[in-house]
Symmetry: C2
DNA sequence: ATGATGCTCCAACGATCATTGGAATATTGG
DNA sequence: CCAATATTCCAATGATCGTTGGAGCATCAT
């Protein structure tokens, strides 16, 4: 009967393994990056601004928690989320954090207000507009992530190519830029650039993680 | 532009506060207990088999993450979940853990198989049966938790009173026992007892956390 | 008041964790 | 085979965390 204690402890300990994976900011950032599609270790390291060794260590822990999988491909090791549910978990924990932590809500509000205007909050209505050609949906993430998954009718211009490819965009239509999600600031920067050049640009607050497209192969 | 790094770090750090709250087995257990309704510190400590001081420390951290609220009531301090979403988070992280961690799945399978038979996996069909009086739904949690929230048509007999109150139960109907959830072993023990006495007892794998009844006041 | 109860704060210990440097391994291209 | 690249392994560092003991504070019963 008091063997129950040990069993219970074991059960909660197992769940805590997932919690432990989610208790480091860097690991969370890696998860968000992997929501965009599979990536190599040093791509991840570069995007998260950490050393390759540290990234490898963090990724190792995520793998130990079975949240990510690896596949060796030549010289590289590709990491990807083990499961679409992992992306779902990231969305849930982020939503809870935004709900509970005032600091976070304030920071996000400020980010949203800075480049003025938010965008249509809902994916489907945006796609509908894009289908009719009434808006241009612009994916400003790196080309590889666009390739792995993107919104229907979206056009890809990675942020760092944006300035040199402005001629591809129309000035008479609204342009809705999106990136990885609200914690990724690329769409915000893109809107800044476009506005300065006279485009009618908006930012979509959501990102790829939100509408589990098909980030995993 | 490289001020983005600092902003991003800050955003992920905030979310990690929630992760940190969820990275200790004991804190997770406290969350599950609080899914059952508000409780005092030493009730929580007793049920989680830890010292009052340790419970207080853990609860303090949960409060710092704004996942729980406190209310002083005379000599006691009542803790409760800040929000129904916190219970939802517990369900999600548990589901992810069960999905990803083989060890956990095996342990749960074994628990379910031990007292043989699982029960109707779905709440609504069970309630329908209970309404028609075809089964007896038995809540074996402590009386206070029953009072805070319970399934419609459920009857309350706390586990430690079960043996002395067997006469209240019919032998000609199926009895479905439930408790806090799959990590709480009270329903399993109750089924063991009932079976030995010749009752037709089943165990409902789900618990109160799953169907966010109204655990918060 | 006095003592008892319920809880929290503070300080300390050991355990665990993030991070870094150095070496080791595996693969590719010459 | 050698050099270069990509990644992991191992050991060592300092930081953080869980846990416990002791003291402090509020509340209640007497």
């Amino acid at each position: 009967m008091k063997d129950n204690r040990r069993t219970k402890d074991m059960l909660f300990e197992q769940v805590a393994r997932i919690g432990k994976a989610a208790c480091s900011p860097k690991r969370l950032e890696l998860i968000e990056l992997l929501c965009q599609g599979e990536k190599t270790v040093d791509a991840l390291a570069k995007e998260a601004s950490i050393s390759v060794k540290l990234a490898s260590a963090h990724l190792g822990q995520l793998r130990a928690a079975h949240l990510v999988e690896t596949e060796k491909q030549g010289k590289h090791v590709l990491y990807r989320l083990a499961n679409r549910d992992v992306a779902g978990f990231w969305v849930v924990i982020r939503a809870l954090a935004e709900d509970r932590l005032v600091e976070l809500r304030l920071a996000l509000d400020q980010l949203a207000r800075h480049p003025k205007e938010l965008a249509p909050h809902d994916r489907d209505s945006l796609v509908k507009l894009a289908r009719k050609g009434e808006v241009v949906v612009l994916d400003v993430r790196p080309a590889g992530e666009f390739l792995a998954a993107h919104l229907p009718f979206a056009r890809s211009i990675p942020l760092d190519e944006l300035k040199t490819r402005l001629s591809e965009l129309p000035k008479d239509k609204a342009i809705v830029a999106y990136c990885r999600g609200p914690y990724c600031l690329m769409a915000r920067d893109a809107v800044d650039i476009l506005r300065k050049k006279g485009f009618d640009a908006l930012r979509l607050a959501e990102g790829v993680a939100e509408w589990g497209l098909s980030p995993v192969r």
